[in-house]
Symmetry: C2
Subunit: 250 residues, 2 copies
DNA sequence: GAGTGGTCTAGACCACATC
DNA sequence: ATGTGGTCTAGACCACTCA
């Protein structure tokens, strides 16, 4: 059972999506919402804080809250899992392992995955598609302790996330994403069916468990005509940070 | 005077940056922090909620909060203003207007800037540099009501944001950012000093006032070797959304 | 000046993690 | 069993917006 404040947040998102509160319109006052849902003002504030963080609504002291956007941001699971994202959009995800091998962990691997020693890591190169069209090349490095479970996953598995959860109960909880652009290399071009040197949107990411333990890091290259990313910002919440120079070290 | 919960959040960020709480370490319990700072538990929760939203710490019911990262995300002003961002990094920003002209608003402009009629908008093409190196081409369209103030800004103004604030009191409050990659066109290549067709990181954004009124929209193209973007995500907060296909309409 | 959001308190109960 | 974070309440005061 979801918490009451989550139910209220979900209810408000739905109302905004349905145009019940149009973009630019004012939301009811906190006390009004508290009365309508039969909860205290604090609970209503928890709900609207979530929508504010998502960039859906804005607030200023003394004035009613304003609806800023109607597009609802995706759940973390949908961002983390390519397959779940595709399903949520009503499209079919595919995936194919092109290469998979164990290698000695480099100093970089040890740092990013917070490994104790310089043992082995598992490298996996995957191509992923949307409705049969290839859109993403994924180069992932898994920590040693999860590698055996990853090796048991079939090569054409649609959702590695779902598989790992079934197998090990592992839940991905946090992620850091670093975004830039690169030229398609020979391998990228071949795997994605684009010309060499055509621009690709690159996302380098680290995913960790709820306890903060790194599970994997990955270099993902998207066809920019097929996929892009969006972020909402406000004075109160600013998830997007600009960085100068090569910056995957932090 | 900042609110007490903001002071506490700032204090905790500093402590994390200074390594007082290392990455992977546990934060003190809420009741402990409440006692130390002489506030109620609710106030402490407001403070740690901010750090959680920034991706600095993670939490799980029943367990102490974990420090996930030490890099603090930038303020909204630093994202919004190229000049303020550069200054915060100890680098020098420059800017130069290459072209500026009024044009009839297209249907696209009317939609994005929520204009009433199809009057005029102001197009500005700027090149921006870091320490003298050109890193960004900005193509901005300003709403008619702000255009006069923008036209009064000098061509080599370092911070347009600061200028507009001085002139009009205008504060940028919200932004939506859409990120993908493009090939450098002839104009881009010339202005940035890169080869034609080299990959550029593109950010299309809309900025609005605190009341939700759109001020400008812009197509910014960064040299990916000079600048990139980072985002922190978690199960509880997911600012980054992946989108399929061309998607600047929402 | 009335309404609204921002802040803070003091206390309560629950679910979950850890030992 | 104990400690911890997650949730919720009821009330208070202040700062700000807007008519």
């Amino acid at each position: 059972m979801a918490a009451r404040h989550e139910e209220i947040a979900e209810e408000l998102r739905r109302a905004i999506d349905d145009g019940e509160y149009a973009v630019g319109a004012l939301l009811p006052a906190e006390t009004g919402l508290a009365g309508r849902y039969g909860v205290s003002r604090g609970t209503v504030r928890q709900a609207v804080a979530a929508l504010t963080a998502e960039g859906l609504i804005g607030s200023r002291q003394g004035a009613r809250r304003v609806v800023l956007a109607s597009r609802r941001s995706q759940s973390f699971e949908e961002l983390r899992s390519f397959a779940q994202w595709a399903r949520a959009m009503g499209r079919r995800a595919s995936g194919l392992v092109v290469a998979r091998e164990r290698r000695r962990a480099t100093a970089e691997d040890v740092a990013r995955l917070q490994l104790r020693d310089d043992g082995e890591v598992l490298h996996v190169l995957r191509v992923r598609g949307l409705d049969g069209e290839r859109v993403l090349v994924e180069r992932t490095v898994y920590a040693d302790w999860i590698a055996p479970a990853v090796e048991r996953v079939e090569d054409d598995c649609e959702s590695v996330t779902a598989r790992l959860y079934q197998e090990t109960g592992l839940v991905f909880a946090y992620g850091k994403h670093l975004i830039d652009a690169v030229s398609a290399g020979a391998r990228d071009a071949e795997l994605l069916g684009v010309r060499r040197t055509s621009p690709l949107l690159r996302v380098r990411r680290v995913t960790t468990t709820a306890a903060g333990r790194p599970v994997e890091w990955s270099d993902d290259r998207y066809r920019p005509d097929a996929v892009n990313f969006s972020v909402h910002n406000s004075i109160g919440s600013n998830p997007l940070a600009r960085q100068a120079g090569p910056g995957f070290g932090g």
